[in-house]
Symmetry: C2
Subunit: 347 residues, 2 copies
């Protein structure tokens, strides 16, 4: 299958602590202190034993958070693995799937690897998405909500229309950033057998370093994912990640406080960026997607990098004059705004 | 791909601490204390950031242990993931691969999933393997050494013959148990571009709970594995597992002492089992494979289970009168020998 690979390239990961990293949508806050306690406990004396192959404990915890059954929850080694397994489980060679032309750039990578044909559906000029274009897709639909890197959210009513209009195919809603937006499509799961919602602990639960993603959906969809997983790797999540993710789900208060903080910072940054003449898309994610009428995105990316601030620049059609900027702490965003303000004024 | 799945079923994982678990070939000793220190350090303050997508640090450490270059090392989420990626990278639909008829039962699972045809090569009656039968394989060869569940080892000279006689195809040697045997095929890597050696930290390095496996081979083979991985999941190993596995590799002394202890226990258990009239294959693994002239394997498995001792029984052709028994600590094996001794005498 190597000849069909066209690998995804993640944002730069740097180790320099003086660099302000606003390029991979990580959470600026550490996970709940209860996560560390759980990891420390789990590390004592059990590492020589395999983790649970069924991850029942973590699945129970996630299920109860979403008021679902354990059998409606699949867990994997990051949501990228869950996405890859979903492509394997639900999409078929010979049947065209649909996803937005501008979206998470891992989708075409999976599609090529597994020989799944695809149609990339253009967005409107303002990057908004018309749901009708996703009706009656031959092989299924995959859609991030909020979309990345645009940061735009579509309502649960719009999602429901897409699901209703693909009754024989699986519709995957990739909700990596949903906790920074309004309503998740999870509440539709009891009504639709063909809806799979994928989320991650990497963003809103501050666990990018632990690699735990999950899918929520009808039992038959979850069973299919389990069959794929058990045909690839019996134990995909290690003991420490299982324990840490469980603790993160249990500390609802901490999760809600940190998420609210990021949303509040985001709203302030949006305003300040507008004052600097940036056009800022109405983000419902933990990042913003911006463009400037005078300064090119590539120029700003490079100048920011020179000043020790990393943001994400995509050298790709339609979005190569935009920057994707992760929302950090209040202090980090002050430094960012200060730096970009100077670049714009000095130049 | 769900219709091609025929999932692997791992050994039972039980949580009852009174049960003596000798059924999944885990190490009875905890990992080096340095592993815990490394994990604790890594857990402080970095969990919200992605791990290194290239895992350079761990790859450097493994490379230096084996006197290879970092570019000759691939790391993955357990050796099962490394095996799955290897099937994807090196074996093709339409070209028959070969592996032993009795072997790690995950191989046919991968082959079916990726639509790779296979020939299962019969072993001799004593479970030994004739290398000539692996020469000129149409699609490549995969072979565990020592073999599982038979525990039998073939020499590096025999491995070399198989590699030499498949010059255009990849030969994968799955060395999950090699540290309990004599020589690894790793020393052949500089001589052969078509040899891939896969190992794991789950057995000899007591890290089954952390999920870190690795492949060693020519750069072009490692590059192919990286392309597959980067088309599936950018970050397959979490921060804690990267740090823990690195520390385990660095504590060579601890690793050597624990491995020697298990080998010494194994030799004693072999003798004691022979005294109980068991036929014990000449194991070079951290488990033994045994049969009794009077008592059936299934009977012994069930009686042992009733007494709180779990061993592995395979309800499969040719091996359904054998038991695979993991080597535990000296004390654990005393309990095992005592229990099986009573079963045989009482019945």
């Amino acid at each position: 299958m190597v000849k069909r690979t066209d690998p995804y390239i993640p944002g730069e990961q740097v180790n320099d602590p003086t660099v302000l990293k606003l390029n991979t949508n990580e959470n600026p806050y550490p996970p709940s202190p209860k996560v560390l306690t759980a990891i420390r406990q789990e590390a004592e004396g059990k590492l020589q034993l395999y983790p649970s192959p069924t991850a029942d404990d973590l699945r129970e915890t996630i299920a109860s958070y979403f008021q679902l059954d354990k059998e409606e929850v699949f867990v994997g080694n990051g949501s990228d693995e869950v996405l890859a397994f979903s492509f394997m489980a639900f999409f078929e060679p010979g049947e065209k799937i649909r996803y937005p032309e501008i979206t998470y750039s891992f989708y075409p990578v999976y599609a090529k690897l597994f020989d799944i044909p695809f149609e990339e559906i253009p967005l409107e000029e303002d990057f908004s998405l018309s749901v009708e274009q996703y009706f009656g897709a031959e092989g299924g639909v995959i859609l991030p909500n909020p979309n990345a890197p645009t940061s735009l959210y579509i309502t649960i009513e719009q999602i429901e229309k897409i699901v209703q209009n693909n009754p024989e195919k699986v519709v995957i809603i990739d909700e990596a950033y949903i906790d920074f937006a309004s309503t998740s499509a999870v509440t539709l799961i009891p009504k639709y057998e063909n809806l799979l919602v994928i989320q991650t602990t990497s963003k809103s639960r501050s666990l990018a370093g632990l690699r735990v993603g999950y899918a929520l959906g009808n039992r038959s969809l979850i069973d299919a994912l389990i069959r794929i997983k058990d045909s690839m790797n019996s134990y995909t999540i290690d003991r420490l990640a299982l324990a840490g993710a469980k603790a993160a789900f249990e500390d609802v208060d901490y999760f809600e406080r940190m998420t609210a903080k990021i949303i509040s910072t985001r709203e302030k940054v949006k305003e300040r960026m507008a004052q600097l003449d940036f056009e800022v898309l109405p983000s419902e994610a933990n990042f913003i997607f911006v463009t400037h009428p005078i300064y090119s995105a590539q120029f700003l990316y490079e100048e920011l990098k020179r000043e020790g601030v990393l943001v994400r620049y995509f050298n790709a059609d339609l979005i190569d004059n935009h920057l994707r900027i992760t929302i950090g702490t209040e202090e980090e965003m002050e430094r960012f705004l200060d730096t970009i303000g100077k670049i714009i004024r000095i130049t």
